[in-house]
Amino acid sequence: MDNKPLQMGVGNSAFSNKKLPIIKKPQSLDSPQITLSEIPHLGKLNIRCAGDDRQQISKLTGYNLALQTNQLSSKAGRHAICLGPDEYLLLAEQGSETRLEKMLNSDKIINKIAVTNVSDALCALSLSGLKVRELLSKGCAIDLHPDSFGRNKSVQCDLALANVIIACIEANETDEFLCICRTSFAEYVLDWMIDAGYEFGIIARSYA
């Protein structure tokens, strides 16, 4: 019978219906000013906890959860985003989220909190380049001026017709942003960005 183990890594990208890379730019431009790529299978844990439990979890996981809503903290390539007064999204390298999940599940704190693996429910896009803020401002009503949306800022909000989490990982000339959306909206978000990015030149590629 044909039931030999499939490779764990063979999971599909959120864009399996699309052929990447896609480049869209006006002829007058030499190169695209925005780069977009999916970070496939980035580990994502949704954590619901409040009060002192946050400290406890920070200790256990190594993530800093002493955050206000709409803040991001980064450490060694891992990020914690505070989505609300008792809600966090932890971003971890692929695979490590299950270890984290197991660890939390085996601790007695699990009775007071909720941990949900949402790695496949959400899709993470990395956006960088000179015009990223311009691009986002076409569909996002948040003030993205560097003065008010700098490094370690994040928001959960609407981007055109999709709900997204936008986080600023790096604020400099080429800016690096994370945009996280529900997987089933990923294709819409991609289409929207490519269309909106045309003016500035945009390349959507697989994650390198």
Binding site: K4, A114, N117, S119, A121, D143, S184, Y188, D195
Partner: protein
């Protein structure tokens, strides 16, 4: 090619580039203008003064103004890709190859057949259509056709698709300055020096406002324009300032939400393909400064609509901005000083002032003296009683005029001319102020409405605030900008006000800004002359119309507006409303304040629908959501169905198959072998926390507290009104952890509702909800071979197929993929719902299809699913229910707990009407003719031969052909249905076919005992 532009003056203005000639056509004729010209200035330069026909009477009309207030010169512009009607010639920038056309005329402007309307005008005064066309009643639709033919102005092309791009952009700033005249520039500059984020926008192609026209004054001892250019340059260089030209702020809404339209490429001959035609800015600003200037009022007298009669300041603009002198022998008709500057400008440009007709009796000012010293004939206390001409003004009647008594008091003097400059005073542009319901104050001295600056959000300055003197505008702008910044700086460390902001000084001589308002010039025979004294030029409403409205009892200013249509044209009465109010006030013998104004509404000027729609059309109109197996369905020729935003595989036709054949095949295969359905779109919610069971007990009608770990239970959810809201299977994964499924379409609503209950009603419950709909891909494997296929797809050590009772759940692996398997069934067959992390959805699906091949596994879509569940009498929320159906109506009282003290909907179910037998109840229907499928939605009647209207019992909610039963089956909601089992009913058809006869039966058609599904 060089062509004479007879009305062009020697080069002088900085607004046009004389080196760059531009060729364009108007009504098929070629003309030459210069870069920087508006279509209006270029036409005037070429001596074209007749540019359109009026709406109702088709009277010849020329250019009245030089800005966005233009009521007459509405033009259709034709591009390779499109034609756009109703553009204002005063705002169209000419470019090489521009093709412009006049509108509302046939066959051409000069010889418009419908101008015959003008002759019969006495038959159609305001509101005439309310009084006639009523007999015979049956002919109205015919009359209406004729009336409609005369409707509208421009024509729109309907064949070509709009290929232009329209962008949207959100923006934020500390201070928005609307208008870049002297007031706006100074305010923006002061604000910007504090470091504030400033946006300054003007609808013109250039900053400067009226300074571009009026260069008679100095600021800081230099010509005002030099000061302006200096500020403009500085603003452009400041990183915290955004300067926008060709940008109209058209909406001022709650909490300083401002919408503006930027025309990005419309003025270009060959626009860059990547740039949008227009950009819609959606702006949130802390403060708004309205420096929107003022609009001049026409004067109202008989014949005042002839081409060649223009607003006085507009004429000055054409001379100074565009080097165009619209006429050579001019009459100036005014009630204030400003028009004297126009006289001066015409005189300096080489025109001849025939005479200045001033309504005021004996005004004195610097400029009047200056003009008098030029030897120009000035007649005080006079009025233009009438203007004459065929397609252009040729002469006027002038008489001494008693404005109190409203009548001429001397003999008529007849003077020839080819230009008439009129000025009735200025109206501050208060639109944006008024859109936010800002109050207006009638200022008797300047005879205009000015805004009452009361709000904390926005403030008007300059001419927009009724401040017309340059020196005072500058100090007002400085003062206001400073105070706004100091207010903002309290909560914003970024901002720091300079100690003493520069205060420019102006040498503008004192003008007499107090006009003498005379709202209409009456003749000795006003009942005749009023009919040609136009108030609203575009809609052809006259002084006579307003007086008629009053005579007929339409006294409210809003009634007059609607009865006469004054102010309802595309210019929204920018030049006519105040005159109309004045005339109305006079006629009613009331003050202007008592008369009031009509309501100001957005947009400030008409705004392209394309720009408002933006890119949110076509494929971006609404997101489409697909499952992770989508590519398989697609490459296997699935037809799709939209379920909310989801796209689901509907059925998989094979070559040569009809719809029904496909469905029959899929249904048959699933019943006899096995079928696989992509069920990934089902809503899934993780319910966690110590109170999870308690919570579910309160939201479902049945009991969940008792559900053992590892077991699944079907639940029904009601809203507080007792009506069925959603259903689904929920599984207990751990003591404090449940996995809830919902309908695909209801997922978001259910989550939101549960979250609402937790936060607002039962905040004491410790429960967390997380949507995991997309975390899991779900393949539903069903049919007699399901178990064997599952077994075959697993390796020996992961095989869990033995001892797997109905309504339980197990974790395992399939081909190395972690799967969560639920033994539940929506088909009535032995069935497994396989959940894998979504990234493996496609892998799982493909694996199962491969393994299942030898077991005759068939992929089936949502249609077959519907048939399969209908054979079993399973309901679908949204199909068997519509928000008016209780569990009792569905004959599902078994699922409504009698023991629980409370749950959502319990009390409502106890209301008087809820248990009455004549409610509509769910029943099965079997047609007499087994091959006849009743259309869904058909209504049951007892006697189809009765006369209409017929008493109906209810409708068919689901109806299919069942290939297993070889019979059509249906379900329906019928009045008193449960008591009617066994009765015969009829379903009348829409297409005239004979009614379908059916028997009311139990809705479970197949495997009543459920042996198959238990296995």
């Amino acid at each position: 090619m060089k062509q004479k532009q007879p009305h062009r003056l020697p080069a002088n203005s900085q607004c046009i580039t004389r080196e760059k000639t531009v060729q364009f056509t108007f009504d098929g004729k070629k003309y030459i203008g210069y870069e920087g010209d508006s279509l209006a200035s270029a036409l005037l330069a070429n001596g074209v003064s007749l540019v359109g026909r009026s709406f109702k009477y088709h009277r010849p009309r020329g250019i009245l103004s030089c800005g966005s207030e233009e009521p007459n010169a509405l033009i259709r512009v034709i591009r390779a890709s499109s034609a756009e009607p109703n553009l204002r010639a005063t705002q169209i920038e000419i470019y090489d190859g521009l093709i412009a056309e006049s509108q509302n005329r046939f066959p051409n402007l000069k010889l418009d057949f419908l101008s015959i309307n003008s002759l019969f005008s006495s038959l159609f005064p305001a509101g005439f259509y309310y009084k006639t066309f009523m007999w015979p009643a049956s002919l109205w639709m015919f009359y209406e056709k004729i009336i409609r033919r005369a409707a509208g102005l421009g024509k729109v092309s309907t064949t070509d698709k709009d290929t232009d791009r329209y962008e949207h952009k959100y923006a934020h700033c500390d201070v928005l300055v609307v208008g870049a005249g002297v007031a706006g520039l100074q305010a923006a500059y002061i604000a910007a020096t504090s470091g504030a984020r400033v946006i300054i926008a003007d609808e013109n192609r250039q900053f400067g406002g009226w300074l571009l026209t009026d260069n008679d004054f100095n600021i800081n001892n230099k010509p005002a324009l030099i000061w302006a250019n200096n500020i403009i340059n500085k603003l452009h260089l400041m990183p915290n300032v955004t300067c926008l030209v060709r940008t109209t702020i058209f909406a001022n809404m709650d909490d300083n939400f401002i919408v503006m339209a930027e025309r990005v490429t419309e003025h270009l001959s060959q626009p860059d393909a990547h740039l949008p035609k227009q950009r819609l800015w959606k702006l949130r600003t802390a403060k708004t400064i309205l420096a929107t200037g003022a609009i001049e009022r026409p004067l109202t007298f008989s014949g005042n609509d002839l081409p060649g009669i223009m607003l006085a300041a507009a004429i000055r603009s054409y001379i100074h901005r565009y080097d165009v002198l619209p006429g050579t022998r001019a009459i100036i008709f005014t009630n204030n000083d400003d028009a004297y500057y126009t006289a001066l400008a015409i005189h300096q440009a080489g025109g001849f002032i025939r005479c200045i007709v001033d309504l005021r009796d004996n005004p004195k000012s610097f400029i009047i003296t200056q003009i008098r010293n030029l030897g120009i004939d000035i007649r005080f206390g006079h009025a233009v009683i009438a203007a004459h001409g065929v397609r252009h003004i040729a002469s006027v009647n002038i008489a001494k005029y008693d404005s109190k008594a409203a009548q001429p008091i001397s003999n008529i003097d007849h003077i020839d001319c080819n230009l008439l400059a009129m000025s009735g005073g200025l109206n501050p542009v208060v639109h944006l102020h008024s859109q936010r319901k800002g109050n207006l104050i009638w200022d008797e001295r300047t005879a205009c409405y000015r805004p009452e600056n009361k709000s904390d959000d926005w403030v008007a300055i300059g001419a927009a605030n009724g401040t017309f003197q340059l020196a005072r505008i500058l100090s007002e702008a400085t003062k206001i900008a400073t105070s706004i910044i100091s207010k903002l700086a309290k909560n914003n460390q970024r901002l720091e006000m300079q100690q003493t902001p520069e205060m420019p000084v102006s040498d503008e001589a004192k003008q007499n800004w107090a006009p003498l308002p005379v709202w209409s010039i009456e003749s000795a025979q006003s009942y005749i002359s009023d009919k040609t004294a136009f108030v609203d030029f575009q809609n052809d409403s006259t002084v006579a119309d307003i007086k008629l409205a009053v005579r007929e009892g339409y006294h409210s200013v809003e009634h007059v507006k609607r009865y006469t249509t004054t102010g309802m044209a595309t210019d929204q009465g920018k030049t006519s409303n105040i005159n109309a109010i004045g005339i109305l006030a006079n006629t009613l013998n009331k003050s202007i304040t008592q008369t009031g104004t009509t309501t100001f509404r957005l947009p400030y000027t008409p705004t392209s629908l394309g720009a408002i729609a933006g890119r949110g059309i076509g494929s971006l109109f609404d997101p489409i959501r697909t499952t992770r197996m989508h590519s398989w369905h697609h490459s296997n020729d699935a037809k799709f169905e939209h379920v909310g935003q989801w796209m689901r595989a509907w059925y998989y036709p094979r070559e040569g198959e009809s719809f029904q054949q496909t469905i029959n095949r899929e249904v048959h295969a699933t019943r006899h072998y096995a079928g696989l359905l992509d069920a990934s779109t089902l809503g899934k919610i993780d319910v966690k926390g110590p109170d999870a069971a308690e919570f579910l007990n309160r939201v479902y009608t049945n009991n969940f507290a008792t559900l053992p770990i590892g077991k699944c239970r079907y639940g029904l959810m009601l809203k507080e009104d007792g009506m069925v809201f959603d259903d689904g299977v929920t599984t207990r994964l751990a003591e404090d952890h449940f996995y809830m499924t919902t309908t695909s379409g209801g997922a978001a609503g259910v989550l939101a509702w549960l979250e609402e209950l937790l936060q607002t009603e039962w905040s004491d419950l410790n429960v967390y909800l997380t949507s995991v709909t997309e975390q899991w891909s779900v393949a539903s494997l069903s049919g007699p071979n399901a178990k064997a296929i599952l077994k075959a797809s697993m390796s020996e050590d992961t095989d869990i197929t033995d001892d797997f009772p109905f309504m339980t759940m197990k974790d395992s692996f399939i081909a190395g993929l972690p799967v969560r398997i639920f033994r539940i069934s929506f088909t009535g067959e032995m069935s497994f719902e396989l959940n894998v992390p979504a990234r493996y959805g496609l892998a799982l699906w493909s694996h199962l299809m491969r393994v299942g091949k030898s077991f005759n596994l068939t992929a089936y879509g949502t249609e077959a699913m519907h048939v399969l569940r209908a054979e079993k009498g399973f309901i679908i929320v949204g199909q068997e229910t519509d928000g008016t159906v209780t569990p009792y109506d569905l004959d599902m009282s078994w699922i409504v707990s009698k023991k629980k003290a409370d749950f959502i909907g319990k009390r409502a179910l106890a209301r008087a009407s809820m248990n009455e037998p004549h409610r509509k109840q769910l029943v099965g229907l079997i047609t007499k003719d087994p091959d006849m499928v009743i259309p869904e939605g058909a209504h049951a009647v007892i006697d189809p031969n009765k006369e209409l209207p017929m008493a109906m019992l209810g409708h068919v909610t689901s109806s299919y052909y069942s290939p297993n039963l070889k019979h059509s089956i249906a379900m329906g909601l019928l009045k008193d249905g449960l008591n009617r089992k066994g009765q015969t009913v009829f379903f009348p058809m829409l297409d005239g076919q004979a009614p379908i006869e059916a028997k009311i039966v139990d809705p479970i058609f197949f495997d009543k005992q459920g042996d198959r599904l238990r296995g």
